[in-house]
């Protein structure tokens, strides 16, 4: 009798081994991603019109005075690289949070209009209200929360989220983008570069003043989101199962939305809504990590890597300097189409 109840020890061993193997693969992937982020960060600091050796860069980062390099690296490249990392981490974290919570890879903040809403608010705050620094970030977090609430309420009356929510978000995004265009043309600063910053995101001309609020936001909201890892994973099983597992569903959802939207808003206020980073980070992370636990950390790292590499490509790979958002847009948009093709083919829920 007992033979049927107690599985043979070899099977237990196999499960344990599999679990160990997956955990170690996850650790390995995270370590590799982190290493790549650090490498891309260093390359961003080193190269430019003048190339500085790693030693000089390292001394500047430590605060020592190196003639020439202190200004170029410390004042120009370091804020840019830091903002790239922070923006990537923030967009990646927030994106994968939304995708996990709504159980749909299309439901990332940049597709459903939250980044665009934050961007519109930032532009209004700068142009019409004359604000700067943290005040802009606060305005855009309020607006982004408003947009998230709006999209959610508009979509949830039917009880069916999914495609309806995404299409409503796309409508909201289209409207937000035309608000940005309107404000910029009203301000008379309708030049292509400035418009592109607020329409697709750009790291050009980054300063420490713009970077600091985003760093603080990452330090505040990042840990909040990471603390929700277990509950978010439970939410993925559906609300009923999650509450049976002891997750406080509504509370988790609220905390996760506020923290993710906060990240998006602060980062967007600094560098604009860098196109498709929060959309791409989650699926890429899922591909490299495999089904091995939470995607939050890997997706954040993938986001940072995406922004750093896209910025390097945009700056140096081609004759023209492209803002980072244009590069990520060209990468991300075809993936969006591909994802829809795949969903349709599999007979998705439409």
């Amino acid at each position: 009798m007992t033979a049927g109840l107690v599985p043979p020890s070899s099977a237990v061993d196999a499960v344990a081994r599999g679990r160990l193997r997956r955990a170690s693969r996850r650790r390995l992937v995270v370590a590799v991603l982190a290493g790549l982020v650090v490498a891309a960060f260093c390359v961003t600091l080193m190269i430019g019109r003048t190339v500085y050796p790693p030693g000089d860069v390292f001394r500047v980062v430590l605060g020592q005075d190196v003639p020439g390099a202190t200004f170029t690296v410390g004042r120009l490249r370091l804020p840019r690289a830091v903002l790239a990392v922070v923006a990537g981490l923030g967009f990646g974290l927030a994106g994968v949070t939304f995708q996990t919570m709504l159980r749909n890879p299309l439901a990332s903040p940049d597709v459903i209009g939250i980044s665009a809403g934050a961007s519109a608010a930032a532009v209004i705050a700068i142009v019409f209200l004359g604000l700067s620094g943290t005040a802009v970030s606060v305005t855009s977090i309020v607006a982004a929360l408003g947009v998230a609430l709006l999209v959610y309420t508009l979509a949830s009356t039917g009880g069916v989220a999914g495609t309806r929510l995404i299409l409503i978000g796309i409508g909201v995004a289209a409207m937000s983008r035309s608000v940005v265009s309107y404000v910029l043309s009203k301000a008379g600063t309708w030049d292509f570069a400035e418009a592109l910053r607020w329409l697709t995101g750009s790291l050009n001309g980054t300063t420490w003043e713009a970077t600091l609020p985003a760093v603080v936001a990452l330090l505040v909201f990042g840990p909040v989101l990471l603390a929700q890892t277990r509950d978010l994973a439970a939410l993925q099983l559906g609300d009923d199962t999650a509450s049976a597992l002891g997750t406080r569903v509504e509370r988790t959802r609220l905390v996760a939305i506020v923290a993710a939207v906060g990240l998006i808003a602060f980062v967007t206020a600094a560098c604009g809504p860098i196109a498709f980073v929060s959309f791409l980070a989650g699926p890429i992370a899922a591909r490299v990590v495999g089904p091995n636990g939470s995607l939050l950390v890997p997706a954040a790292l993938v986001g940072a890597l995406l922004v750093l590499v896209a910025d390097l490509v945009g700056q140096f790979a081609l004759d023209t300097r492209f803002p980072v958002g244009v590069v990520t847009g060209v990468l991300g948009a075809p993936y969006l189409v591909y994802l829809i093709v795949r969903t349709n083919r599999a007979g998705g829920s439409l």
């Binding site: 409508g171 983008r177 035309s178 008379g188 697709t200 004759d319 244009v326 847009g329 439409l350």
Partner: protein
Amino acid sequence: MTALRPAPAPGTAGARRPGPVRLLWLLVVVGVLAALAAASIAVGSRGVGWSDVLAALGGSSDDLGQAAVTKRIPRTVLAVLVGAALGLSGAVMQGVTRNPLADPGVLGINSGASLAVVAGLAWFGLFSAASIIWTAIAGAAVSTVFVYAVGALGRGGPTPLKLALAGAATAAALTSFITAIALPRGDLSVSIQSWEVGGVGGATSATITPVLPFLAVGLVVSLLSARSLNSLALGDDLAAGLGERVALARGLAAAGSVLLCGAATAVAGPIGFVGLVVPHLCRLLVGVDHRWLLPFTALTGACLLVGADVLGRIVARPSEIDVGIVTALVGAPFFIALVRRQRMREL
């Protein structure tokens, strides 16, 4: 015998309007269009008195006011043409796909035309007016086929939501490519940039004339397809039973629609949401009979675009807002409202 002729269901009472009501609406719409066109000629960052307007219409351009009016005339004409083309194109597209969300902007067809034009300008040196129009129409056609193919994949064929999602994603993708192509070309970026948002400012008779034949052909083809669109609205099987050659009718109507929106995009850039809003509005006014609906959408589309252009000039004085921005601000909420509707009625 009366049992064979059931009373119309409550919801369909508005679908068939008596002729006089339609004629009345026709007069109203024509009147509104005339008023808006007059406003479009008179209103701008420079205020012009009516006497000057009349003098300028008479062909004189002696002082600044009259000169301003002379410049506004082609602009108004272009807004009327493009608005009519987009409205009609949207109506035909909604009829062909039986999809209430169909619109040249939502389905990414405008973006396809834009990408083709920008690529043609930047890489192939296609600067002449005729070649721009041809590339725009080719781009529109290719993206129509692509979006329809993507939306039709999988279970249930091209449902409204699937088509809209495929279109929006395609539009996003194409827009990214447009930016990437346009950005390095500083020499072109000024013209591309204003054109990319969608605008009718800067129109001259020289820019309008080449596109006229295309618009005319598109208009005729679309209007002639009204009867077959009525049959198609009953469903493919019934339409075939009525003697309609379904594939041919659908292809012809779609060709007319693509021709219209490709030509409109070639001359004014991608203007969204006009083709979405106008047909729904017109259905409320004159019902679902395409023989009435199609001419009405052309007129109402013209009204909408001229109105949006005037609005863009008023709210942003002394500068002006491109019509593409205004129509997006007005049209996107409408799109959202349509998506929200519980059970989307198939057309």
